[in-house]
Subunit: 432 residues, 2 copies
Amino acid sequence: MNSWVASANGHPDFSLANLPYGVFSLQGGERRSGVAIGDEIYDLQVALDAGLFEGLALTAASAAIGGELNSFFALPREVRLALRERLIELLVEGSEETPAQQKICDRLLVAAAQCTLHVPARIQDYTDFYVGIHHAENVGKLFRPDNPLMPNYKYVPIGYHGRASTIVASGKPFVRPSGQIKLPDSDEPIHAPSRRLDYELEVGLWVGPGNVLGEPVDIANAREHIAGFCLLNDWSARDIQAWEYQPLGPFLSKSFASTISPWVVTPEALEPFRCAQPARPEGDPTPLPYLLDAEDQSTGAFDIALEVYILTPTMREKGVAPVRLSLSNTRNMYWTFAQMVAHHTVNGCQLNPGDLFGTGTLSGPDRNSMGSLLEMSEGGKHPVELPTGEMRTFLEDGDEIIIKARCSRDGFGSIGFGECRAVVLPAWGRTS
Amino acid sequence: MNSWVASANGHPDFSLANLPYGVFSLQGGERRSGVAIGDEIYDLQVALDAGLFEGLALTAASAAIGGELNSFFALPREVRLALRERLIELLVEGSEETPAQQKICDRLLVAAAQCTLHVPARIQDYTDFYVGIHHAENVGKLFRPDNPLMPNYKYVPIGYHGRASTIVASGKPFVRPSGQIKLPDSDEPIHAPSRRLDYELEVGLWVGPGNVLGEPVDIANAREHIAGFCLLNDWSARDIQAWEYQPLGPFLSKSFASTISPWVVTPEALEPFRCAQPARPEGDPTPLPYLLDAEDQSTGAFDIALEVYILTPTMREKGVAPVRLSLSNTRNMYWTFAQMVAHHTVNGCQLNPGDLFGTGTLSGPDRNSMGSLLEMSEGGKHPVELPTGEMRTFLEDGDEIIIKARCSRDGFGSIGFGECRAVVLPAWGRTS
């Protein structure tokens, strides 16, 4: 299907098939809610004021406006879906409302390149999972070569609570963290900037309505509670992590910044790219009943290509394009998004609209598909060589990491997530 | 100093020397902000409307009203202090404003017993520390008898991110969590209600203004960022915890409910109960410079008695009063609150007004001062006998845990935190 918004047609990320939601501002103005279409942002407030919505779509658009999507995420799935269906009607080529929209086109459509994009919802709680089994194996091997996976891994969708206050939108640079580091040649830690700063390739899940405290979400209903997806870079300071994480898990090694892509890609847009959960290897345990659902088994996974690129200061100076470090896929998830929702609430834990889940690092099985430098460099032992001749074991000041995701299928075109990117700034109190 | 509010004089918790802030509602009405004084709550909105505040105190009272204290916590310390000083002027015996206040007394003072008390601020992020060294040793001993403390313990104020959405105010019962449990006689986990449900005696810290992302809080300024304190029961399902916590730390074993006492006891009220940080045992390392401050060393700790009581259904039936399980003290903290703030932000992590820290379980060195049943029963091996003849290794449905805290000193009277209490309900889908 083509759109009357010309830049949408053939757009690699934001064709009419996608229509992700986001929050933007123009030249320091107020935060507004919009929908990405080609190179433009469709302003929901302007469309609403123009009377383009009615019924459930009006309910949904009214909840979405205001520069924060929590109230929209809180709506039942069918109400959110009504807005999507109406947006397709409005934006499709030959739409009855084309003349009405073209009359207000200068306000209804804003050039995305002129906008700042924001974290699209108020995140009360952020949970990071660990469902990338190859990542768990690769990291486990560094510590326990013979027995990389913990005994619980194939039973429990392992996760932990992360820091919500430091989740930032793509494009915002962040300061290299300092902290306690214990160097191998000393018995005592030092306080210094991290020397082993890394990225982690993840997908994020935006929670929809959520549940009442004390009442688990049945896995058969889990999809109702998934409002959308984004990309997530869970920046990690490996040296701080190694010293702090026993016995309660990662803390300051992760809480200095986590970058997300600002567009909320809906489950409906990704529907054509659903696939069966990868078959569990012979001998792997069957999930416990609360994690098992026939529909989830057959269509609970997604086939989304994930890419990580690096752009160093030298590359920037020389005009060299970002270089791809890895190509992975969401099929590397051992647990589905629905299983994550069911597990998170099995104890009665309350999920709220706008909570964010991360998948954990989604590495593939080989070196070209690894989602972190820790894995690619085998714990810092083997630097990665870039086309400029530069070597990287971990990130240096000025390095920029860019994560992208895309899925395409004959007859359904292409859907992309947009970019999740950020530059590393020198540590606090230092200049590069 | 006496107050014209008669019930305040000699009140064990809420004398004129305390004046903690809180959020209450009356008979299902709107949430209002108030101050505890004796058996009453002083309604800040009513006082404000009566013109009783001006200058900085007016700024502070205006920020405090509205049933959520975040904006009040965000104020600089001297502004918050101005409100406290004005409240003392207003409530002291012989106050010039006594006649004006007594005229509106029926609205200005509400009987606390008729009110519901709420979580006093919107908590975006909740962090739980592990600064109770005896608890860390007691729990460590269960796993590593010869070497209970991790090598990082005396260098790092260990902490981890907790779940903000499930922090509930004292008095609200909670559902026993279900989850994955691996019994010792099986290789495979089961999905079942926790059989090893426990409490944890903690103190909570309410974060004040907070910092800008990327900029650490210097320990010398850390007190500016401490708005107040509460009690915290970090309910824990030990069997779920044992199976899930490797390698990323506790998750569902803690996230089903955490109960806090609703009154925010200010640092100013606790000033007379400051004390020197307990001397580090011979051979313990000196804290790294970012955790070291002379004033913090000499006055950064507090001498607050902490008590845990239990009330079982049988005791309730027989009319037996709650029985004390332990008497501990905040002096059992290995790290101070200021050290927690400095450590949390050393990586640039942003703290926001209304964030909550827990200290971790504050056990003393002996059995009568332990802050959890896990410790008292030595991992479930030695049940605790109650005066009714009942035995407890872990909590049973209907059990209620009550935490209290109080400090007193000649010439300064007594200050209490009020109660932190909750009853265990049967697991979801079960009836007792």
